[in-house]
Symmetry: C2
Subunit: 449 residues, 2 copies
């Protein structure tokens, strides 16, 4: 099974846990068997592995998310990074070309595309396998009147939602043809569609790779992965639904009746939580239907709350009535909070303190990982190593470092650090204009001291 997971979104709706660079799929809220917590992307990845150990999982995403993905899933996961955002058709084509041209997978092979963030159970992934089998046109599916160029998954709707597209099948079989599509209708129209047997379009579909690559040749002049990547920023923004799905005649839809939830608001997210609190929290006995997600090191005490969600992170604190939490976006848009926590491929950083001319952060490097070799033009830095062992390179000189060491780098000085064991650093930045953009990267050249 080859799966392409589309990982996008900037997700202000789950502020303060999500923000401009941290999407909802990276929030760790699901309790695992070993008692720790995993994110939606980790949960989906582990579920796929449970159904098919050999599955090829490719995550199609932006540059900003690639670090978080490697941080959460390790280095072995395939990540297809879009050079810039160009909607789902270019993204699906790029990921398909990556599998075909870079990973060498046959064009006859079916691929399943699905969003990275639905809250589903194992039956969903069993259904995805089935979807791929239909796209391949396997023997077992001859009963389904032959294959199809494109096979969609249609979710049995539970209410007349205005936020999904609807697919009207030709009959009531498990797999059927498609009579018509309807983009996000109003509630009244949605109700009428559901009456006629329409299904939600969840953006889940399967195809043989050669089919999409052929479409790409026609529509955007696809030749191979390399050249597509090069000209990616010149491509038109266009959705896969619009470019392909709605124009395809040989198309089938497979019904899915299992759990399929979008945890896009605090209300829906908290419903999926197995326990009322994640993190350090106390609810007194008069609290009812309260969920707390606390990422801070200090406790949250809740007394006499009803139907509420409380969430605290280094970015801020949300206290909201659950229903009201759906209307969060315009308020978060107004908040001009700098990013206080970020996952990087090498670990993460947490901003501890900001003054006019300084910024203090806690930097954690994973064993075996290191930063880029870089310099800053307008700030000095001090690294106070507080735990672990590793090696730093400063202006070409390499030396071992350990807890207690203090390293001073003046503006212009090239530096990096690599972790042997997990390395924790208190980094002090000092300068008149501290900016993430003030960073120049270099090839690492070292001589032993």
């Amino acid at each position: 099974m080859h799966i392409i997971l589309l990982s996008g979104g900037s997700g202000k709706r789950l502020w303060p846990l999500s923000n401009d660079i941290r999407s909802k799929q990276f929030i760790k809220i699901f309790r695992t068997k070993d008692g720790s917590y995993e994110s939606m992307v980790q949960r989906v990845y582990h579920q796929i592995r449970e159904v098919d150990k050999e599955a090829t999982v490719t995550i199609a995403t932006s540059k900003t998310q690639a670090s978080s993905i490697h941080n959460q899933l390790g280095d072995e996961v395939l990540v297809c990074v879009e050079p810039c955002r160009r909607d789902t058709f270019p993204a699906v084509v790029l990921a398909t070309a990556y599998l075909h041209d870079v990973r060498g997978i046959s064009g006859e092979e079916p691929v399943i595309v699905c969003p990275v963030d639905p809250y589903v159970e194992i039956d969903y992934f069993e259904a995805l396998k089935k979807l791929a089998d239909i796209a391949r046109g396997d023997e077992q599916d001859k009963a389904l009147k032959g294959g199809a160029n494109l096979v969609l998954m249609g979710m049995e709707p539970t209410y007349p939602s205005e936020k999904y597209g609807y697919i009207l099948p030709t009959d009531k079989e498990t797999v059927s043809g498609v009579k018509t599509f309807r983009e996000k209708p109003d509630a009244k129209t949605a109700r009428e569609y559901i009456r006629q047997g329409a299904l939600w379009n969840g953006g889940v579909f399967a195809y043989q790779m050669k089919y999409v690559l052929e479409k790409a040749r026609e529509i955007i002049g696809y030749a191979d992965y390399e050249t597509l990547y090069e000209k990616y920023d010149t491509l038109e923004k266009i959705s896969f639904d619009y470019a392909v799905v709605e124009k395809e005649k040989n198309i089938k839809v497979m019904r899915f009746k299992g759990q399929w939830k979008d945890l896009g608001t605090w209300n829906t997210l908290s419903e999926a939580m197995e326990e009322p609190c994640v993190g350090d929290a106390i609810l007194n006995e008069t609290c009812e239907n309260v969920h707390v997600l606390n990422e801070l090191d200090v406790p949250v005490l809740c007394m006499g709350l009803k139907n509420m969600v409380v969430s605290a992170s280094p970015e801020g604190i949300l206290v909201s009535d659950k229903e009201q939490s759906s209307y969060i976006k315009p308020f978060v848009d107004k908040i001009d909070q700098q990013v206080m926590f970020a996952e990087k491929s090498w670990g993460d950083f947490l901003v501890l303190d900001v003054t006019r001319e300084s910024r203090t952060s806690k930097v954690t490097l994973k064993p075996g990982h290191g930063m880029n070799y870089h310099s800053h033009a307008r700030r000095d830095e001090v690294w106070n190593i507080i735990s672990g062992k590793g090696r730093c390179v400063i202006d070409g000189k390499s030396r071992p470092v350990k807890a207690g060491d203090v390293l001073e780098m003046k503006a212009g000085c090239r530096h990096t650090i690599m972790a042997d064991t997990e390395l924790k650093i208190i980094e002090i930045q000092l300068g008149p204009e501290i900016s993430v953009h003030d960073k120049q990267k270099f090839e690492l050249e070292t001589k032993e001291e």
Copy 2:
């Protein structure tokens, strides 16, 4: 006017803004004319100055609060530090002896004693002046049938509270004799007392100093301030009410009808707030009767809340229904959070990060102030100066310091730092057992480098 302000209490009821070392009177919540915020102790101090520029204000308090008092009121305020806590009779005697023996104020002079934390307006302090005049037995008070050894202020009760003592006056005049006292009665008894014209005992009283010093001679063998201070820890814990008030025959009570509130719970405190938010907070339009006190640098967003208080500090976060907030104490008692923020006489510190073997804090020194000269046996320290100018002494060697300097002190090394301008330092402590008790103080001996 000579006033002794009793400043006590550890105040878990206003967690997370109050804690073991930070009492409610130091929380800055009252908007001043210049737009900044002041605490209860600052508000009371400024109100006294407004009524009487020449007033002698002495704050009787514990060692732990003395730093906060100097930090908030400056160095000129008189602070009478109790060597240990011994209830109000020893505290009042010690402060009176301090005024008489150390400050040289005549025994004929009246003194007013009152708690530091009532929420009152200017009329209260006008009434205190009157109370002192009666205690002095001035000409103008001959109409009051002569002076009295002790003059109490009786607050007109607004409801049958169970938390105050009651004073039953002999008549309904502004100043009258006292028929009887009643310690905190139940609501039913309180109602009956109020019906009979009883007043609340707010712990506010005035006397000529020689009267209390004479009582102290009789009861605890007072001789002078010095010897009293020396034997303070051997004194019995006894309240002023019990030791003196309830036994005194020549006693008067003066009615006070103005505002007099105890802001001891989140409910009463928020009622006294002039605006719904102190600190960075956003309330959406569906919030009703919500108060937010946010001491963190990140925003609090509230949506759809009714009758609630939200408070965030470096110690934790409280989200509570206002009525429920009165029951906070047992929950806070269970929280084992180390002190994250503290005011010191030289400035303040804020803990930014704690790991198993490290602690990172932001230390701010006020201009002209410095720490004690000290060392730690079991931890190394690094000072990263992030702003300001000053001078440090490390193992006897003095040198100027400025933003960007990094100072490393190994365990055992003696060190201090003094601020010329406001000095901000990121302090990293590293060691196996980081404890506030691991500190040895020394006399400062320096040689210029």
